[in-house]
């Protein structure tokens, strides 16, 4: 098969200059910083209106953008393990989105969550714990020092994986002749790395989100986050790739065949998210146990049912049906629009996971949720604020290196994927 297009594989050595990011990426960085300032100002305004609401909004922004970084790290490791042209063309985007610096900044952005812990987590209240036997039993795990220590450990694990994958990737760029050696190193790290990712994500989801209702538990919760974070990451990567594909140098590289592959992955992740989410619902709904069902009752009352239905229709059904189309997946701009829409629905999903837990009232019967439009608005303000900081870091990291991994053994193959006849 390779014989067919050997004639257009020119063995010319490609240099960093061939794949330098265009000026628009710099403009993206400036725009992101403006969004950060506006978003953070709006979020802080919310703090004066309702401090408890403020911290929930902040947690929404923190969990979502940490998720994009962690998801990109996971997809980066998956592409090192699985190989393939689809991974080579998005590798730099994945590396920039999960860079050690980004993860360090996200860890610093966790400080407000620690400050706001008394407003977020019932288990930080001594009197609430003493009044509740379940919380006493959980106290050895759910206490503030251990909680902070664990979060530092999560970021240390993500950071270490990201550090080595980025450093080896740089070395590979500078030494393309030995590209396969670095590729083997990265592959070797990625196997155990994915196991660590799964464990870290599970614990992080329990700590940051599940413990908002300390009496509630769902054993699939961590997996729900893995699928959700993977979907966020993939949708983000596709949106960025479409942006890059409109400009030099990636307009010569990214072809319909690449977007077709990425679109198929997006479809798979959309289905995966729906599958995990429904699994949790089916089991808890069937059991209908008093310690499990309130979590859903809160999301099926007080207006939240509208958001719940919207998630089924717009987070699953609509993207699923659209992504079935081959033509749509091969058309960069339409696929980009669907990816942005999925990214928006990912945000709504994180709002849906966190916001109904606000104002539960300590010790009060805990299934009275209220859909507060203001809460959603400030939730999105935090998403924009933290997102602006995150995106500025991303654009900066992306510009620092060529947009294609120069030393990747699959580079030529990836460049010609979908460019068979010219």
């Amino acid at each position: 098969m390779s014989e067919v297009h050997t004639h257009d594989v020119h063995a010319a050595h490609r240099t960093a200059a061939d794949f330098a990011a265009s000026l628009e990426v710099g403009r993206l960085q400036t725009l992101a910083l403006i969004a950060a300032v506006v978003g953070i100002a709006l979020t802080l305004l919310g703090a004066f209106l309702d401090i408890e609401q403020f911290f929930h909004s902040y947690l929404i922004g923190f969990v979502f953008w940490t998720g994009v970084s962690a998801g990109c790290l996971a997809i980066l490791m998956i592409q090192h393990l699985a190989g393939g042209a689809w991974g080579v063309v998005i590798r730099r985007v994945l590396e920039a989105a999960s860079s050690p610096l980004t993860l360090l900044v996200m860890l610093l952005l966790f400080i407000p969550v620690v400050i706001g812990a008394p407003f977020l987590y019932e288990w930080t209240h001594r009197d609430a714990v003493q009044a509740n036997q379940f919380l006493q039993w959980k106290a050895p795990y759910l206490n503030l020092p251990f909680f902070i220590g664990r979060t530092i450990l999560y970021f240390a694990i993500f950071g270490a994986l990201s550090y080595f994958l980025n450093v080896w990737s740089n070395q590979q760029d500078n030494d393309p002749a030995n590209g396969y050696i670095y590729e083997r190193q990265m592959r070797t790290l990625s196997g155990p790395g994915l196991v660590l990712f799964a464990l870290t994500t599970t614990f992080a989801s329990v700590d940051w989100v599940m413990s908002l209702d300390p009496e509630w538990y769902s054993t699939i919760f961590g997996i729900l986050f893995m699928g959700g974070w993977g979907l966020s990451a993939l949708a983000f990567v596709i949106a960025v790739s479409v942006f890059l594909a409109q400009r030099r140098p990636m307009n010569d590289i990214l072809a319909p065949a690449h977007f077709h592959d990425l679109g198929k992955l997006l479809l798979a992740f959309v289905m995966l998210w729906a599958y995990f989410s429904f699994s949790q619902l089916l089991i808890i709904w069937s059991g209908n146990l008093p310690e499990e069902i309130p979590w859903y009752l809160r999301r099926y009352s007080g207006g939240w049912q509208v958001v719940s239905i919207a998630l089924i229709v717009f987070h699953f059904a609509l993207p699923f049906l659209l992504l079935l189309s081959r033509d749509l997946k091969r058309h960069a701009r339409t696929l980009g629009a669907v990816a942005l829409f999925v990214l928006l629905m990912r945000m709504v999903d994180v709002v849906w996971l966190i916001a109904p837990e606000a104002h539960r009232g300590h010790g009060a019967p805990s299934y009275v949720g209220h859909l507060n439009p203001v809460a959603i608005l400030f939730g999105f303000a935090a998403l924009i604020g933290i997102g602006g900081v995150w995106l500025a870091l991303f654009a900066w990291q992306l510009r620092r290196r060529p947009l294609m991994p120069l030393g990747d053994p699959l580079l030529e193959k990836a460049l010609h994927h979908g460019h068979h006849h010219h």
Binding site: M1, E3, V4, L281, L282, W285, S286, R326, H421
Partner: protein
């Protein structure tokens, strides 16, 4: 300029003309040139899948994806209605104090029925649209055609093509660096 053997042919109608190539590049380029020359009723044969070849012969889009979608949709609606009929009409049975039509408990079977009918439509639809089973096909009248499953590549232009002319098409196929051009008898 006409070759001798072209003038000496008999007048039996033929199924088409088949050109043989040594390399995948050869057959892909030939298919592209034939397509550019205006030929549409053609087919190509290779021992292994060549993605570009499908595009080169100008293969039309198949209706199969649409059929599979409709099959899946029928499975989805049918599976749901089947359960609703059984659980709420034919043999109403209250389980766990829930309404007779409880959507969450119907989803797994609805999903399975969707997959079942979509997959069955895919297999059956592929066989029917390909015109299978087909015990006889004229291409096997070319003795060397068996090499298509080994190491040779073939391009066939059918006589039903509006542009098909036994002499001109044969000359055209020869001009494409083919090894050999043979008549395909009915």
């Amino acid at each position: 300029m006409m070759n001798e053997d072209l003038l000496q042919r008999d007048d039996r109608p033929i199924y088409g003309l088949m050109a043989e190539f040594d390399t995948p590049t050869g057959v892909v380029n030939a298919a592209r040139q034939a397509h550019d020359a205006g030929y549409r009723q053609m087919d190509a044969f290779s021992p292994f899948p060549i993605h570009e070849l499908t595009e080169a012969v100008g293969a039309k889009k198949t209706r199969l994806p649409l059929l599979i979608f409709l099959g899946g949709l029928a499975g989805c609606i049918g599976g749901f209605l089947m359960q609703a009929y059984m659980m709420a009409v034919d043999y109403p049975l209250i389980i766990g104090g829930r309404p007779l039509v409880s959507i969450p408990s119907y989803i797994p079977v609805t999903f399975e029925c969707t997959v079942l009918l979509a997959a069955t439509t895919a297999v059956v639809g592929m066989i029917v649209l390909n015109g299978l089973p087909r015990p006889y096909h004229p291409v096997f009248n070319v003795p060397r055609f068996e090499l298509a499953s080994r190491n040779r590549f073939f391009l066939l232009i059918e006589s039903t093509d509006p542009k098909f002319d036994r002499d001109e098409t044969k000359l055209f196929l020869r001009s494409l660096n083919s090894r050999e051009v043979s008549d395909v008898d009915y």
